[in-house]
Symmetry: C2
Subunit: 261 residues, 2 copies
């Protein structure tokens, strides 16, 4: 099967023009078919502040009310997505920006209200990723660039985590492509010693993961990241790589980052 | 040749949810292949006011400086485009939202500075419409929904009039489809008597146009609209219709509006 590389980029780099452009040049150089998924960075918060749209947070998670949904639709689906697409086009990468509503690419449902009402936050439906539209675009030589927005099929856009979008898209396309999922963030990978950026653990299997959790080498936000990575592998994704955005080419060719198989 | 209907919608209706949804239902009912081009409405101004982004106008035309470009990228390319796409998807219309940067759909160049620097305003290049991407999308059963934004291929998005986008797209696709261009606005068509909404002139040819200009029946903003319509016909567009957004189905089937052939 042909390889499809799905790269997720998020965090501060989204707001740092030079670093973002350097990353996008590296993305363009990734061989074969590929998809980019981007997060939101801090621009939604900054622009929201200017507009007087204040995000409420519960347990550190942003609540997506009507005004916040409008804000993220503008900033994620408009500003960030289109700036990335226009830059990629300028370097010869035939990008096409999409939210989950475009071409009915990703269906989700509003997260049910249990203790907390997160508002317009979407969890991707079973079978919610529309494989056909991705295949049509990829076959036409287009490079989908996905904003962290889905839709519910009832006319509502929904705010969906970019990691989730990358993972669900990867899982959905496993039957058609040999999927490599690359999560870029601000660390060089999973570190043996949090204080030492060069202590990257190059490969992790499930047994290692259980041991490293017991030893508290892996803790905090890295735990759900790796749990999701193993879940993706279980569902047929060929490999998952976690590493620093500045090392994308080496994350793809296996020379950097933490590889989950 | 197969028919392709390109519908342009702009003005106040963009900001009026119920009327817009009713229009989009009518658009969904238009038979055959189709493309929607939307304008910006007043939302960019309203949101700009909230953000403290003040548009400067010279001779009634908005100057697109850095901040205004960001604003229109968010509002046209994000908020308005994605809301339209999500609504169309909810009624079973497989819409896909695009700016001119997406799939390199429409290339333009920044308007040269003569007396006035309009800023990031784009005039569509000769051959600037990428026919292939439209054919790929239409052949896949997708309905392109175009925001009034183009790009210069150098990484910059540009603000481009929605009428122009509709017209250039129509002209570019004349070799492949039998093009019907429909401009929806707030009048029922070209009126014989401006005070009488029922005095719609049903058909206009070039000779009529010259005479009606001399008689000052046609004046103001209608003159460039019709000049553009005749230019489109000259370049192979099969027909152009101008009329009220609430009468879309009858504009398409020839029972309402002003038809230019």
């Amino acid at each position: 099967m042909e390889q499809l590389t799905i790269v997720k980029i998020g965090g501060k780099i989204i707001d740092q023009k030079e670093k973002l452009h350097s990353f996008l040049n590296d993305f363009h150089a990734v061989p074969g078919r590929k998809i980019l998924v981007h997060g939101g960075g801090m621009q939604a918060t900054d622009i929201g502040d200017k507009m007087g749209v204040r995000s409420r947070y519960i347990n550190g998670r942003r609540i997506t009310d009507d005004d916040v949904l409008k804000l993220v639709t503008m900033v994620y689906g408009g500003l960030i997505n289109k700036d990335i697409v226009a830059f990629l086009q300028s370097i010869g990468c035939n990008a096409i920006g999409l939210t989950g509503a475009d071409g009915n690419a990703i269906n989700a449902r509003k997260r049910p209200v249990a203790d907390i009402d997160y508002g317009y936050v979407g969890d991707v439906d079973e079978g919610g990723v529309n494989k056909n539209v991705f295949v049509v675009l990829l076959n036409a030589g287009l490079i989908p660039v996905l904003a962290p927005l889905t839709h519910d099929g009832l006319g509502n856009l929904l705010n969906t985590n970019a990691d989730t979008i990358a993972q669900e898209t990867g899982k959905a396309l496993t039957g058609m492509f040999d999927i490599c999922l690359v999560y870029c963030f601000e660390k060089r990978g999973v570190l043996q010693n949090a204080a030492d950026d060069n202590s990257v653990i190059s490969t992790i299997c499930v047994d290692d993961f259980d041991r490293l959790k017991r030893e508290q080498v892996i803790a905090g936000g890295m735990i759900p990241k790796l749990e999701n990575a193993f879940a993706a592998i279980d569902e047929g994704v060929h490999r998952v790589v976690i590493g620093h955005a500045s090392e994308l080419s080496h994350l793809v060719d296996g020379k950097s980052g933490t590889h989950i198989r």
